[in-house]
């Protein structure tokens, strides 16, 4: 359980008005990890650094407990074990699906054409019609391009999937399917791991084991979801206690009828004497609370 699929140390990337600075980040092996954060928090930059798409940064990264970032860059064997999908379509628009398939076979040693075709079929990439290798990538909708990229990585033998905002272009049914694909992947062998960024916390909650929350280029919270659910408590209370609660709660929203907020478990006994009900928050509520505390949004 202590093993990490990616362990990053002292990662720093400076832009003109923005700095990504991650002293330490560990992605547990054998689990699905979500990277959560506002627009512009640095999620894609971080993912690009971890997948080797960017290498103009400071810091060190260890993959699968044994390879350095330099080794990952030079060794095809390490890259073979990682599957990546991005927010931009990385297949050229004038390629056909058939070309995507043959190029993937050339690029990766462990790309299974039969599996690719099966996923194309399962994900209804051709709208319920038979596999058509002549179909152009440019003729596919955004959501379908994402499905095609997923089919492309799932057709390979990998140990880690890194997915940048996979849920965003997908419809609700397909998001549900995405969760199923991730669970199947985690169940397909020892130590299989998934790391994805998302804004759609509620849709992805049922598959998220570990969460990393990034704000203004810094990790402001990370942990196993079940542990976070014990660290943060959802509290609802009466109007009379609003002022007192404001001093104790981590975040608070008030209305004419009372308040609702997130309280750190360690502060819970300070609420003694107030008429409150407590609940276990979901990941969405926890994420919003943590983001709110660290956001520039007023």
């Amino acid at each position: 359980m202590e093993k990490q699929v990616i362990a990053a140390k002292n990662i720093e990337k400076k832009y003109k008005n923005f700095t990504l600075s991650v002293p330490e980040m560990n992605i547990p092996s054998g689990f699905a990890t979500a990277l959560i954060g506002e627009n512009g928090a640095g999620k894609t930059t971080l993912l690009n650094i971890l997948t080797g798409i960017r290498n103009d940064y400071k810091g060190s990264i260890q993959y699968f407990g044994q390879y350095s970032e330099k080794e990952m860059e030079k060794t095809a064997e390490v890259r073979e074990r990682i599957g990546y999908t991005g927010t931009d379509n990385y297949y050229l628009p004038n390629w056909t699906v058939g070309q995507v398939c043959s190029l993937s076979k050339l690029l990766f040693e462990h790309f299974h054409e039969d599996r690719f075709k099966k996923y194309c079929d399962d994900l209804a990439i051709f709208g319920g019609n038979a596999y058509d290798g002549r179909k152009k990538v440019s003729a596919l909708s955004d959501g379908t391009k994402t499905k095609l990229m997923l089919a492309g990585v799932l057709a390979r033998d990998t140990d880690l999937l890194v997915l940048d905002e996979p849920a965003s272009p997908l419809d609700p049914l397909m998001r549900d399917k995405l969760c199923e694909l991730i669970r199947d992947y985690l169940n397909s062998g020892e130590g299989k791991s998934v790391f994805f960024s998302t804004h759609n916390i509620s849709d992805m909650e049922g598959v998220t084991d570990y969460a990393i929350i990034l704000e203004q280029g810094k990790i402001v919270e990370q942990g196993f979801v079940e542990d976070l659910k014990e660290k943060y408590i959802l509290v609802k209370g009466e109007k009379a206690d609003i002022e007192a609660a404001k001093k104790i709660l981590y975040t608070i929203t008030t209305s004419n009828y009372g308040f609702e907020g997130i309280c750190l478990a360690e502060d819970l006994d300070k609420l003694a004497g107030m008429d409150v009900v407590t609940e276990t928050p979901n990941l969405f509520k926890i994420s919003v609370a943590v983001m709110k505390r660290n956001s520039l949004i007023k």
């Binding site: 689990f31 169940n187 196993f224 079940e226």
Partner: protein, 124 residues
């Protein structure tokens, strides 16, 4: 197994409760393995960490033992402990009934009479 996302009871507790009931009812034999955590997560459509926490809860209660790399197997059930567990369940249910009776304005005598009637009805 039925899992409710909105019952207010944490999902890991619902899973642990369901397995506890089955284990105490003898549906698992001694040494039998529970489904793997990833398999269970897949089937229940929940995250792996939640099923893991449910199993850890059962381990804490002494119902199952973790075996490195192989999963969780069911322990021999001590008959004294079994009895104790069942007794606790009865007490909990009765306490809930007492609370409900109080809200309904029933006296202790009326509650006992109701219980007697219900037992008779069930025996028939």
């Amino acid at each position: 197994m039925k899992i409710s996302q909105s019952s207010g009871v944490p999902i890991y507790k619902q899973i642990a409760d369901a397995f506890r009931t089955d284990i105490l009812a003898g549906k698992y034999s001694q040494g039998e393995y529970l489904p793997s955590i990833r398999e269970l997560a897949k089937d229940l459509r929940i995250s792996v960490i939640t099923t893991m926490k449910a199993y850890e809860q059962l381990e804490l209660e002494g119902l199952v033992t973790a075996s490195q790399g192989k999963g969780f197997y069911v322990n021999a059930q001590d008959s004294e402990m079994l009895k104790e567990q069942h007794l606790r369940k009865v007490e909990d249910s009765l306490l809930a009934a007492i609370d409900a009776a109080e809200i309904a304005g029933m006296s202790g005598g009326e509650l006992i009479e109701t219980l007697k009637t219900l037992i008779e009805m069930r025996d028939q």
